[in-house]
C-alpha cells in the first residue's frame, strides 16, 4: 500500500489505458470489431488475459446504435469464457469504472477491466440525445443537444463569465495538441453559428470510438505498472433534470463530487475535463476551482474527440496515462452525463513521489 487513506479504503489504481482513434464514421466495423483491438491493447500493456481479470464492467448506450441490448454482442470481443464476473452501465464508461472501483474496494477482486464505446455515426446524434429529456414537457419539442448547450453559453455570457472570443480561445487551445487519437487537431476554423452563441468550433466533433482501462488494487497495481495512477478519491453527483430549475452558470454537482473526491485538499497539476462544449469548460473551471496553474485538457478533451459513452472514461485514462509517464503527479479527471452537465463524476489520481 502506498499510503493510508483516511477512510481505510483499499488503494486502487489505474494501471493501463487504451483507446481507439476517434473517427467520424466506422461503418466498415461492427461495434465489436471497433472495440476488440482496444481491449487487446489494454490487456497487452499489463500482460493480463481476460481470464486473469477479477471483474469486468462496461458502459454503452442502446440509443446510439438504435438497437436494444447492443452491449451483449460487444461482450464477444472480451472472450467471456470461462464465464466472467461482469456488469454493464447504460451511460459513460466513467461510471463503469466507478462500479469496478467499488468492486475492488470490497476485496472481491484485485483487477478489473473497464471499457466503453460509442458509435455516434449511425444516427443523428443531436436528435438522438433529445430522447434523454423529460418525456412529457421537453422531449416532444425535440430541443437538440447544441441548442441546450447554447442556452447555457448565453447564460454565462449574460452573467459576464465569458464571451465569444474567450470561448474561441478554449476551442483553439483544445485542438492545439499532439494527441494522435484525436479527431480534430491543429488549426480548426471557428466557423459559423450552429445555435447562437455557439459556433462549429465551440462544439465537439461527432465521432465513433472506444476506450478501456485496467484497475488493480494494492501490490497488484505495482506489479502491473511501474507508476500506478492511484485513485485518491472518486465521487459523482446528479442535479435536478429540468434546465429551468437549475443555475446553468454553475455546477454544484461537480463541485460536491470534487470535494468528496478530495480534489481541494492539495494542489493539482493537471485536469482532464469532459466538457463537450467550450462554455461548459468555463462552468467546470469555476466549480472545480481550477486556476491557471493547472494544465487543462492536454489531450484536447472532448472538443478534440468525443466518442459518446467513452469520452468520460477516456478523461480518466488520459489523466492516468500522464501519471504513468511521469508527466503529472496529481491530476483531476472529470466525466459528465445528461444535458448541460446534469451529472458529474470527479476522480483524483496521484502518482507515487518521484
Amino acid at each position: 500500500m502506498t499510503s493510508e487513506d483516511v477512510s481505510g479504503l483499499r488503494d486502487v489504481a489505474v494501471v493501463a489505458f487504451a483507446q481507439s482513434d476517434t473517427l467520424r464514421t466506422t461503418e466498415e466495423q461492427s461495434e465489436v470489431e471497433m472495440l476488440m483491438p482496444v481491449l487487446h491493447d489494454v490487456l497487452g500493456q499489463t500482460g493480463l488475459r481476460t481470464a486473469d481479470i477479477g471483474f469486468t464492467c462496461s458502459g454503452s448506450c442502446d440509443y446510439l446504435a438504435g438497437r436494444a441490448f447492443s452491449f451483449t454482442l460487444a461482450l464477444d470481443g472480451v472472450g467471456a469464457w470461462p464465464p466472467l464476473s461482469e456488469s454493464h452501465v447504460e451511460t459513460d464508461g466513467a461510471w463503469a469504472l466507478y462500479e469496478a472501483w467499488t468492486k475492488l474496494l470490497t476485496g472481491d477482486a484485485d483487477t478489473a477491466l473497464v471499457y466503453s464505446y460509442g458509435k455516434s455515426s449511425p444516427g443523428s446524434l443531436r436528435d438522438v440525445l433529445t430522447r434523454q429529456l423529460d418525456p412529457y414537457y421537453v422531449a416532444p419539442l425535440w430541443p437538440d443537444s447544441v441548442a441546450l448547450a447554447a442556452l447555457q453559453a448565453q447564460a454565462l455570457i449574460d452573467a459576464g463569465e465569458t464571451d465569444e472570443p474567450a470561448l474561441a480561445g478554449i476551442a483553439a487551445r483544445s485542438r492545439e495538441i499532439a494527441n494522435p487519437r484525436a479527431q480534430l487537431r491543429g488549426s480548426v476554423p471557428h466557423g459559423d453559428y450552429v445555435v447562437r452563441p455557439l459556433r462549429t468550433g465551440d462544439c465537439p466533433p461527432i465521432g465513433d470510438g472506444a476506450a478501456a482501462v485496467i484497475l488493480a488494487a494494492g501490490d497488484r497495481a505495482r506489479e502491473l505498472c511501474s507508476r500506478p495512477a492511484w485513485i485518491r478519491g472518486i465521487d459523482h453527483r446528479i442535479e435536478a433534470h429540468s434546465l429551468g430549475v437549475r443555475d446553468l452558470t454553475d455546477s454544484p454537482s461537480a463541485r460536491l463530487a470534487a470535494e468528496r473526491a478530495g480534489a481541494f485538499e492539495r494542489p493539482l497539476d493537471t485536469a482532464e475535463l469532459h466538457a463537450p462544449f467550450t462554455a461548459q469548460e468555463v462552468v467546470l473551471r469555476k466549480a472545480l476551482r481550477l486556476d491557471d496553474s493547472v494544465r487543462i485538457n492536454p489531450s484536447g478533451g472532448a472538443l478534440a474527440a468525443n466518442p459518446m459513452m467513452a469520452a468520460g472514461l477516456a478523461r480518466i485514462g488520459e489523466a492516468a496515462a500522464r501519471i504513468h509517464r511521469g508527466e503529472s503527479d496529481r491530476a483531476l479527471a472529470h466525466a459528465t452525463s445528461g444535458p448541460c452537465l446534469q451529472q458529474n463524476l470527479v476522480a483524483v489520481l496521484e502518482g507515487d513521489p518521484r
Partner: protein, 313 residues
C-alpha cells in the same frame, strides 16, 4: 474485401404516456389556455409543474395559476430548425420565467432575428389553434410589451382531463453490420453459407460476428459450411407473429449446418409439422431474390444420431 453493407434503420414508435395528477392538470390546463404551476413546501412556484420537489424530494400537489406572460432568462438562436421542433422558420430557444413562477419553462420564441431577442425581454404565450393537452399546445412564445397577468390559485380541475399523451418518436439510423457479417451476407447472395474459423479454438462460427466470443480474438479464415444440416431442436409455432406472413402451425428449428460449430435458425417445410424430429437431416430451399433460405426441407437421409449433435444442442 467485398463492400461493407449499409442500409437505413428507422426506429419509430408512438409511445403512450400516462401522466399522473400534476402533469395531467398542467397539460389539460394548456388545452384550456391556462398555465398551472405547483407550490413547493417553501413557497416557490415551479413552472412547468413537476410531481416531486427537486430540492427536498417531497411530493408536491398544490397547483396555482400563473401568467401566460413572462421574462426570458436565457436564449439561443436556432438558424436551422430540425425535424419535430416547434417552428419551421428560424427561431430562438428560450427559457421563460412566467409571471408568478420561480422557475423557467423551455420553449421556442418566434422573433424576426437574433437581434430582436435578449435576456430579460418580455414575452407571452402564443397558443396553438388546435390544442389536445400537450406541451405543443403552446405554439411558441412571442415578444410582448403589455401588462403582467394576474396570478390566482387554481384547483387544477377541469372537465374531461387529459390523462395520457401519445408521444411519437422517430429516429433514423444507418445500419452497418461490419466486415464479418457483410462478407457472410454477400456469400448468401450466391446461396453459399460462409462462416469464419477462430484461429485459437478452431471453431467455425456461422454467422460470423467478427470475433470468437469465447477467445476474444478476430476471426478471419473463411469456411464454407452446409448446405445440409441437422435439426438439433425445434418448436411448433401455433401463434402468428405480427410481422411475418407464415401460415401456422409451422416448425421453427435450430439447424447445425454440416461443418458449423453452432446452430442457426430456420423454418422446416416439406414435411408435416408433427413429423419433424430432433436429428432430422435437412437442406435449404431458396426462393428467387430471397436473402436467406425460405425454409429447410428433409434430405431423405437417415436421422443423425443424438450423440453427433448433442454438443450443438
Amino acid at each position: 474485401m467485398p463492400e461493407v453493407l449499409k442500409a437505413p434503420l428507422v426506429v419509430e414508435f408512438p409511445f403512450t404516456r400516462s401522466l399522473g395528477p400534476v402533469q395531467s392538470a398542467f397539460l389539460t390546463g394548456l388545452r384550456e389556455r391556462v398555465v398551472l404551476g405547483v407550490k413547493t413546501g417553501d413557497g416557490r412556484t415551479l413552472v412547468p409543474p413537476v410531481e416531486y420537489d427537486p430540492v427536498t424530494a417531497e411530493e408536491i400537489r398544490d397547483l396555482v395559476h400563473v401568467g401566460s406572460t413572462g421574462t426570458v432568462t436565457t436564449w439561443a438562436w436556432n438558424p436551422e430548425p430540425r425535424r419535430g421542433q416547434p417552428l419551421t422558420a428560424p427561431f430562438a430557444w428560450a427559457l421563460v420565467r412566467l409571471d408568478g413562477a420561480d422557475t423557467a419553462l423551455l420553449h421556442a420564441l418566434d422573433a424576426p432575428g437574433p437581434d430582436a431577442v435578449h435576456t430579460g425581454m418580455r414575452v407571452r404565450i402564443r397558443w396553438a389553434e388546435k390544442r389536445s393537452g400537450a406541451i405543443t399546445d403552446i405554439a411558441c412564445f412571442e415578444p410582448y410589451d403589455g401588462d403582467d397577468a394576474e396570478v390566482t390559485v387554481h384547483a387544477g380541475e377541469f372537465q374531461d382531463p387529459v390523462i395520457g399523451i401519445v408521444a411519437p418518436a422517430r429516429l433514423d439510423y444507418t445500419y452497418s453490420p461490419g466486415r464479418a457479417q457483410s462478407a457472410y451476407i454477400h456469400a448468401l447472395s450466391d446461396r453459399r453459407t460462409v462462416g469464419e474459423r477462430c484461429p485459437s479454438c478452431r471453431k467455425v462460427y456461422v454467422p460470423p460476428r467478427g470475433a470468437c466470443p469465447t477467445c476474444g480474438v478476430a476471426t478471419a479464415e473463411q469456411v464454407e459450411v452446409g448446405p445440409r444440416g441437422t435439426v438439433t431442436t425445434y418448436c411448433i409455432v401455433n401463434i402468428k407473429a405480427k410481422n411475418l406472413d407464415i401460415e401456422v402451425p409451422y416448425v421453427y428449428a435450430h439447424i447445425a449446418l454440416d461443418g458449423a460449430d453452432l446452430t442457426l435458425h430456420g423454418r422446416i417445410g416439406g414435411i408435416p409439422y408433427g413429423q419433424v424430429r430432433m436429428g432430422l437431416r435437412v437442406e435449404p430451399v431458396w426462393t428467387e431474390g430471397g436473402r436467406y433460405p425460405d425454409h429447410y426441407r428433409p434430405t431423405g437421409e437417415p436421422d443423425a444420431d443424438y450423440d453427433t449433435y448433442r454438443e450443438l444442442l
